[in-house]
Every structure is written in structure tokens, then in C-alpha cells.
Symmetry: C2
Subunit: 269 residues, 2 copies
């Protein structure tokens, strides 16, 4: 019952942030008044306004819950639960006018870091993924079927490896692991941010997907966890352990067979 | 008059290829009969069918023109003009279910390698860019205004640098140039294929764009040239020279000031 109410609030957050973000999408503001120039300003405006609007709703409708967010200060929790917000995941895509960014809204249990529900909202294409712990994932209220979920003969060789940017691999070891998986997988693609994870969850691919990323923040993946797990996909850290608020390395695969193979590549390096 | 007729044919090619590609988009075929497995097959099917349908139309409606294409053999020209076709530019995006790939259709004058007209068609989002030499570029029949076109105080520092993948920088010198421009530009994004160029042409960006790519084929950029030039944007090789069928290194910028700055960075390395 409490979860149903939270879910209702989460959809409201997605609605309201989506309206604000849509207003700023593909609006090149060549000259603005801000000191830092136009470059960051339009992105910052959309980011800040969308986040502020979401926090305002939460303060009214779930004042007992805390907030962990990208742009502003965290808000402590009385209920032990936290909302984890990223108004625009995929800033470069948004800034270029590519409709493959997303608003990430997660609700976590503070003592276990378990994500109770997650929404990824793409307001331009009107795609909204909803994951609730223990339930099947919905895309626009329709249950997703992931055709790669139960494939017992999946092979890394046939998968497409994804990362938003190679610049996220900071340490020597991260670069080694990324490079080695690149050699094993048939295809490697960059860009994508949260949309890579949504493609994986949705089973859109002409091939199974593997996503290997590092240098992430909690708000970059928290909402994504129940969405992927609710389709039979896998999302863990690079050791196969559950993600928590301190995780920065994320590995996601279309199914468990691919996860085991990827973990084995990593373990053997 | 002849150009008007060619333009009509070009739109027909975009219509027909778009229908075929849409049919295969986001259709994960987990198991197919082909020997190579499902991985490449769905992409190959969409690619081959779309290209074959376009070539069939050309053989009927412009039998005097030659064809340079991604998938099949080239066809010689009697008129001196060549159609340059890439049914799916952005194969990884298509294969993942991202609607940011495009069908590239160019018509060139064989003796000068001048692109007379170019279309980039994104069938899922129903976006079609049309560039004709000497005319202003259209997006869905509306003239594009590029807000960065006449900015005389543009700075590389404020621009977003783009490349589809860092793996396209093969030589030591290419990697050096890419790395150095990365240091100068404020933001660097990967992924995008033809959609980067269309974002640049459309002036969607919250910031001006620079695209630096190498390891390209003629069909990857031929159709893009009049689209970008018809908005006041720039597209040349890495020395600032006009592109031709043997070019593999492409540099595109939102305006001429940025082009000069980028060329100067390259020349000083």
C-alpha cells in the first residue's frame, strides 16, 4: 500500500520533470546572461528546474522520505527511505538534441540500499520504464519481454559491448578490463547513458547487450536496477556483487549466462 | 529541371528504404536460420533489403546514373553522375534499437566529386534532412536556421567535440589530434554517427558542435555535405580541403570561426 502510493508519486515526478525538460529540448540559446556563457546554462536550467520541481513534490507528498540528488544537497530521511534523483542522465545527448537521455527516479531502503522502485522517463519519445522490486518491468504500462533472458547458449562473442565514453575508464585496471572485453565481444558501441540500459531491459537489440561502465554515481544507476532485474537481465558491480550507494563500477548483461562469462573475463585478468 | 527530377527520385528512395528499415527496427530475432547466427542477420537483412529496393528504383528511374553503395558492387555511370547510398549509417544504434541512425542518399557529379544533393532520412522519428547545392537546407520541408552560423566570437573551448567511437582513430597522429582537441573543447561525446552531423546542421545544440572523425567511407559523408553547407556550417577534411571520394578524415563545425580554430590546432601539432 505504501509502495503503491510511492509509485504514484514517482509517476508524478516523471510527469512534472518531463514537462520542464521538454520545454528546453533543442532550444539553442546562443547568448544568455549568465557569467559562464550559454554553454552550460541551458542544460543547467533544465537540470535544476526539473530537480527542484521533483523535490518540491516530494517535500509535500512524502516529507518523511530523504532525497539523494545530482544537483542539490541531500535531504535526510525520517522514514529510512530515500528518493534518488537524476533529472537528466545523458547531458551530452540532451545538449546536442538527441532524444536518448532520461530522468532517473529511484526509491531506496536506506539500511539495505535496496531499490524498491525505479522509473526512467524519456519525455521526448514518451517512453517510461517502471521497475518495482519483485514485479515484471513495464514500458509505458506494458510488460516487457526480454528475448535474451533465458538464452542458455548466449556467448559474449555475439554480444554488443557498450559504454557511454571510454573516458570513464580512469584506472589502468579499468582500461585493461574494458579493452579485454572489447576484444571478446563482436561489436563495441559508445554513447547512450541510461538509454543503453533501457535497450538492454527492453530486449530491442538485434543481439544481446553487455554494458561495462565505471566512474558512475549512485543516481546514475539506482533507478535502473529494478528495471533490468524485472526483465530477467542482470546488473551488478564488476565482481558480480549487488550495487550499493558507494558503487562506481557497473556491469549489466541481457542474461545470467553472459554475466558469468563477463565476470570470468574480469576475474582472469 | 534534371536536378528537380533527381530530387524527386531521392525522396522516393528515402520513402521506400524507410518503410523497410522501420519493419526491422527493434525486432529482436533471437534465433535465425543463417549460418552466422542472429547477430548480424537482422542488421544485414534491413541493410540489404533497403539498399536493393533503392537500387531497383534507380535502375528504373535513372538508368543513366551510376551507383556507389555500402553493401553491393558499384554500378558504372553513363551520365557522369553517381548515387551514393548508405542504407543504415549507425549500425550499432540500429542494432540496439536507438532511433538515431540514418539512411544516406547522395547524388554526385563524377568528374568533380561535388555532391549535388543529399538526403539523410531517420524513418523512426520521421526526420528528413534535404540539402541541395546552392540552396538552404530543409528539415521536413522547413528551412533550417543554424543559430551558430554567424557567431564571430565562437570558441572551441565552448564547443562539444564529437566522434562516433575512439576506435576510428587508427594512426598515432589521428589519436594525437583527437586527444589534443579533447583537451581544448569543453565537452567530448561519443556515439551518434550521421545524427551528430544532423544535430550540427539543425543547430539543436545548447552549444556549438565540432565533429572530428576518421576511417570513414565516401558513403558515410557524401550526402551530409550539402546538408551542412546549406546551413552555413562547415565540413572539410582535416586540412580544410573539400571532401572527395577518397577522403577518410572529416571535420565539421557549426561555423567558419570554429573551423579555423580547429584547423589551427591540427596544423600546430
Amino acid at each position: 500500500m505504501e509502495l503503491e502510493n510511492s509509485l504514484k508519486i514517482a509517476h508524478k515526478l516523471a510527469d512534472v520533470s518531463g514537462e520542464i525538460i521538454t520545454k528546453y529540448f533543442r532550444q539553442a540559446h546562443v547568448k544568455t546572461q549568465t557569467k559562464e556563457g550559454m554553454v552550460s546554462s541551458i542544460v543547467t536550467l533544465a537540470d535544476l528546474e526539473a530537480e527542484a520541481a521533483m523535490v518540491e513534490i516530494l517535500r509535500q507528498e512524502a516529507p518523511q522520505d530523504g532525497v539523494i540528488r545530482e544537483e542539490g544537497e541531500d535531504i535526510a530521511s525520517d522514514s529510512g527511505r530515500y528518493w534518488v534523483l537524476d533529472p537528466i542522465d545523458g547531458t551530452s545527448s540532451f545538449a546536442k538534441g538527441f532524444p536518448i537521455f532520461g530522468t532517473l527516479i529511484g526509491l531506496v531502503e536506506g539500511d539495505t540500499d535496496k531499490t524498491l522502485l525505479g522509473i526512467v522517463n524519456q519525455p521526448i519519445l514518451r517512453e517510461r520504464w517502471t521497475g518495482v522490486v519483485g514485479r515484471k518491468t513495464l514500458l509505458n504500462q506494458v510488460i516487457l519481454t526480454n528475448p535474451y533472458n533465458l538464452e542458455s547458449d548466449s556467448q559474449l562473442q555475439d554480444a554488443c559491448l557498450n559504454a557511454t565514453t571510454p573516458l570513464m575508464f580512469i584506472t589502468e585496471r579499468q582500461r585493461l578490463i574494458s579493452h579485454h572485453l572489447q576484444q571478446v565481444c563482436k561489436r563495441q558501441a559508445f554513447g547512450g547513458d541510461c538509454y543503453n540500459y533501457m535497450a538492454l531491459a527492453s530486449g530491442w537489440g538485434a543481439m544481446p547487450l553487455v554494458i561495462l561502465e565505471s566512474d558512475l554515481k549512485y543516481y546514475d544507476f539506482c533507478a535502473i536496477i529494478p528495471i533490468i532485474e524485472g526483465t530477467g537481465g542482470c546488473i551488478t558491480d564488476w565482481q558480480g556483487k549487488p550495487l550499493n550507494r558507494d558503487s562506481t563500477e557497473v556491469l549489466a548483461t541481457s542474461n545470467r549466462v553472459l554475466l558469468e562469462q563477463a565476470l570470468s573475463v574480469i576475474a582472469n585478468l
